[in-house]
């Protein structure tokens, strides 16, 4: 349980009921995959049978002849740019001459029933010429490797260097060098990629779908089909989850094509297996990291090589690599860095955005090396981190002064005072079974929120209703993170009204201006600041109208408790309700749209796209684990997380975000890795791809450090991602503490832990 330190604010900082809670717990809020419309068709995609092949011929005649089939579309029906991708549109909407992974779409079908659509999808005959596979990113970088794209297999290579690492290594007391690997985590949302499309009465396209940015989905459809954006309305679902996996286009363009062709409503729902094959994954990374410190524990240098398997298409691979670069030195002062980073095409699915966006992978490497250094120098691991963490006024490893509030040192203090850390010797002495070992591990983390040095813009609208209430329009969708509740709290505070007088319209491109994306831990900051830009303008309108009604100078009026009143003890006041009626009668504008540009660096660090961010989130985690040395199984018993995410807007949502991040991080650390062998996804359902359940969840304690972030609404930062970032490293360090041998590859499955124990025993003999 957490409580906010503020008391003067009426709504911000308080636990208020979740706006989306009632509808979700009663089942009133529908998944789009459960929605049905009269005369609705079902859609199905014909996907590639090969992970890498040339297409020699596509024959749709048998599918078209099947009774009940209404449309079979191929690349010939893509009327605009036959490509999608947020950064680089290199993924075909429908493939024409080549397939690069099993998820590649070749045809899209609409039929009267789901079964007919599935049957027809199988009847599309495609003649392939298989090509050599590229499944290992190291092999993919060799000149002789089969090329996934004509320009080669390296999507992005960049190097960033500061100081002189070689000189620092020579001066160092301790130098550790290790190779770390991380798995291919899947998002495994409650609802797979799904949506429903239709034409409205004006012939415009309406797409209901799980997405993270209506306006970006609108742009991708507009670009692919060469349709003006105002003819496309996107409505995003508030249920089903996303975690980054629905940032990219999934069903939207195919649905738009089918509704234009058939003029009927069309529904598409990817099966769980299809989601596993065609959906996004977290980038598996290999990180070779050499870290040095002097005898007092001061970090001197970090040399890092990162190889990210981005799969068949770019999606957000280039910027995921940037975040890995930015975070690979952790939240520490390191003067000498040399980072060499690659994002490499393979035929292994497609990797893209996933909560943490490249940071959990490199955090595992850095925080493991930090622990090894602490042990070599016989320094307590929290003390060593405390010596090196960034503080106000410090420069980052990129030589730039770190902006924004920095509370990472305070999160370490909280970690040191946590029950797990203080009582670790006690816990370690209480073994449940002689063959089980207890360990405690710590890890700290950093991540910027927002798009860093790239443009980042958000707009919001606020409309005064005829009854004196407020309709707030925000397009970045509620995806389960609690954003709409936070928006209502911020709006009620800024508009000086009761929270029940604020309605939030979220995720609908027709009723809200472009607020950007629900991504990069930024929905709260984007939407919140856009509301704070619009609210004062609307208050000015109210003050002016009230001045006319009260025959007072607006300068001497104030907004308070849904009224405009004369400042001081005067009882002269007029309610928002009456002002709304007055404004409506006079025909005055009752809607304000205002925008917010996220402050950013004009010039990114050389070799990067978006470094630095304007502000950062921080956290420290402590894990208590029990390792069964006979089976290699690790059980997380307790978990402590101290985040610095600025001021807390809603303590309940804050706790929920942190707990969800820990659960997903636990999967990354111990269980989840989508096996792809020879381009074929072997783990694509809940039987073959296991995620943590309530039985795996430890006792969790969240102890936030509240700093005041100047660019955040009421001092808040982002929150969605930071909780997951240190989880893998904290658990890995705890495993080492338990069994005194280290795992260098996540997830730390029983096999890997058992093998590490075997190697240790063999070396001791």
């Amino acid at each position: 349980m957490i409580t906010s330190a503020r008391s003067k604010l009426k709504w911000v900082g308080k636990t208020v009921n979740r706006r989306d809670g009632w509808g979700k717990v009663t089942g009133e809020t529908q998944f789009f995959s459960d929605m049905e419309l009269p005369n609705m068709l079902w859609a199905k995609v014909t996907r590639s049978k090969y992970p890498h092949a040339l297409i020699k011929k596509i024959d749709t005649s048998k599918a078209e002849a099947l009774p009940g089939v209404v449309a079979v579309l191929t690349y010939k029906d893509v009327t605009g740019q036959n490509g999608f991708g947020i950064l680089t549109p290199d993924q075909p909407v429908l493939c024409q001459d080549k397939v690069r992974y099993l998820g590649d779409a070749i045809a899209v079908i609409a039929a009267e029933t789901k079964e007919r659509a599935e049957q027809a999808a199988q009847l599309v005959e495609v003649q392939y010429e298989p090509l050599p596979l590229v499944t290992d990113p190291f092999e993919a970088m060799r000149p002789e490797a089969s090329k996934v794209h004509p320009r080669g297999n390296i999507l992005r290579h960049t190097s960033v260097s500061m100081g002189n690492v070689d000189h620092a290594f020579q001066k160092a007391t301790v130098v550790v060098e290790n190779t770390f690997r991380t798995g291919r985590q899947m998002h495994m949302y409650l609802e797979t990629e799904a949506g429903l499309g239709m034409l409205d009465d004006k012939g415009n396209i309406v797409i209901y779908s799980g997405g993270q940015s209506p306006y970006r989905d609108q742009m991708q459809i507009s670009r692919a089909l060469s349709i003006p954006p105002e003819r496309i309305r996107i409505i995003s679902t508030p249920v089903g989850g996303a975690f980054g996996g629905k940032e990219e286009n999934t069903v939207q363009i195919h649905l738009a094509m089918l509704v234009l062709k058939t003029k009927r409503p069309v529904k598409m729902v990817w099966s769980r297996e299809e989601s596993g094959v065609a959906g996004m994954k977290r980038h598996p990374m290999t990180i070779i990291m050499k870290t040095a410190a002097n005898k007092k524990g001061k970090l001197l240098a970090n040399k890092v090589k990162i190889i990210a398997d981005t799969g068949a298409y770019a999606s957000l691979g280039p910027t995921v690599l940037d975040v890995a670069i930015e975070n690979c030195c952790g939240p520490y002062r390191v003067r000498n860095v040399a980072i060499d980073a690659y994002s490499v095409y393979t035929n292994n699915g497609v990797a893209g955005a996933f909560r943490g966006f490249g940071a959990p992978q490199v955090n595992f490497a850095m925080e493991s090396n930090i622990d090894i250094i602490a042990e070599r120098l016989s320094i307590d691991p929290i003390t060593l981190r405390m010596m090196n963490v960034l503080r106000n006024g410090d420069k980052s490893p990129f030589g730039l002064k770190v902006n924004g509030s920095i509370g990472v040192d305070k999160t370490l203090v909280r970690a040191k005072k946590s029950r797990i850390w203080k009582s670790r010797r006690y816990y370690k002495s209480r073994l449940s079974k002689p063959w089980c070992k207890i360990g405690v591990g710590v890890a700290s983390a950093v991540k910027g929120f927002g798009f860093g040095a790239l443009p980042d813009f958000a707009a919001a609208s606020i409309q005064l209703t005829p009854t004196g209430k407020f309709m707030v329009g925000i397009s970045c969708p509620e995806i389960g993170q609690g954003a709409t509740t936070a928006y209502a709290q911020i709006a009620a505070e800024a508009l000086h009204c009761d929270i029940d007088e604020v309605y939030i319209t979220s995720g609908d491109s027709e009723f809200a201006p472009d607020t950007g994306t629900s991504s990069a831990s930024m929905a709260l900051v984007r939407g919140g600041n856009a509301i704070l830009a619009a609210a004062p303008k609307l208050i000015q309108t109210l003050l002016k109208a009230a001045g006319e009604m009260l025959h007072e100078n607006p300068r001497y009026l104030v907004a308070k408790q849904s009224q405009i009143k004369k400042s001081g003890k005067s009882k002269n006041s007029v309610s928002y309700h009456d002002i709304a009626k007055y404004l409506q009668k006079s025909g005055a504008e009752m809607k304000i749209v205002a925008g917010y540009n996220v402050p950013r660096s004009d010039k990114p660090v050389q070799g990067t796209l978006e470094i630095p961010h304007r502000s950062y989130m921080y956290a420290t985690a402590v894990a208590l684990v029990e390792v069964n040395t006979l089976t290699g199984t690790t059980k997380v018993l307790k978990f402590f997380l101290s985040p610095d995410c600025g001021r807390i807007i809603n303590p309940q949502s804050y706790t929920g975000q942190c707990e969800g991040a820990i659960a997903q991080g636990l999967g990354f650390a111990l269980i989840e890795d989508a096996k792809i062998e020879n381009g074929i996804v072997r783990a694509n359902n809940f039987t073959t791809y296991v995620i943590p359940t309530i039985a795996d969840m430890p006792e969790i304690e969240i102890d936030p450090v509240e700093t005041y972030e100047r660019i955040g609404p009421f001092g808040a930062k982002g929150l969605g991602e930071i909780g997951i970032i240190p989880v893998g490293a904290a658990i890995a360090n705890a495993i080492y503490d338990a069994i005194r041998t280290r795992v260098y590859t996540l997830p730390a499955t029983p096999e890997k832990v058992y093998n590490a124990l075997e190697v240790k025993m063999a070396s001791q003999n």
């Binding site: 605009g80 740019q81 947020i86 950064l87 549109p89 940015s213 306006y215 970006r216 742009m219 507009s222 670009r223 060469s226 003006p228 954006p229 105002e230 940032e247 957000l316 910027t319 995921v320 940037d322 975040v323 955005a353 966006f357 490249g358 927002g450 798009f451 860093g452 790239l454 443009p455 980042d456 813009f457 707009a459 201006p513 472009d514 950007g516 994306t517 991504s519 990069a520 925008g595 004009d602 010039k603 796209l609 978006e610």
Partner: protein, 91 residues
Amino acid sequence: MIPKVKVRLFHELRQALGQSELEVEAYTLNDIVESLINAQGNLKELFFDSKGNLRSYALFYVNNKLQNPPNLNMKLSNGDLLLLIPPTAGG
């Protein structure tokens, strides 16, 4: 005759100019960028860095084909369609 080009705007360009599509008389891509900046001065920062270099992340599509890198002196023809897409991604 000066070519008439249809320009389709996305994201903050659309917000800043208050419309998603407009028709511009322009010989080159540069003419269009200049006319947008003339209409809304703060768009200059979106297209150009402080040294006046075109930012790499602004995407220009002429007749559905990505211009990579964009050549601002590219000649335009009557009836061309230009899509202008500022970046909307990062992490």
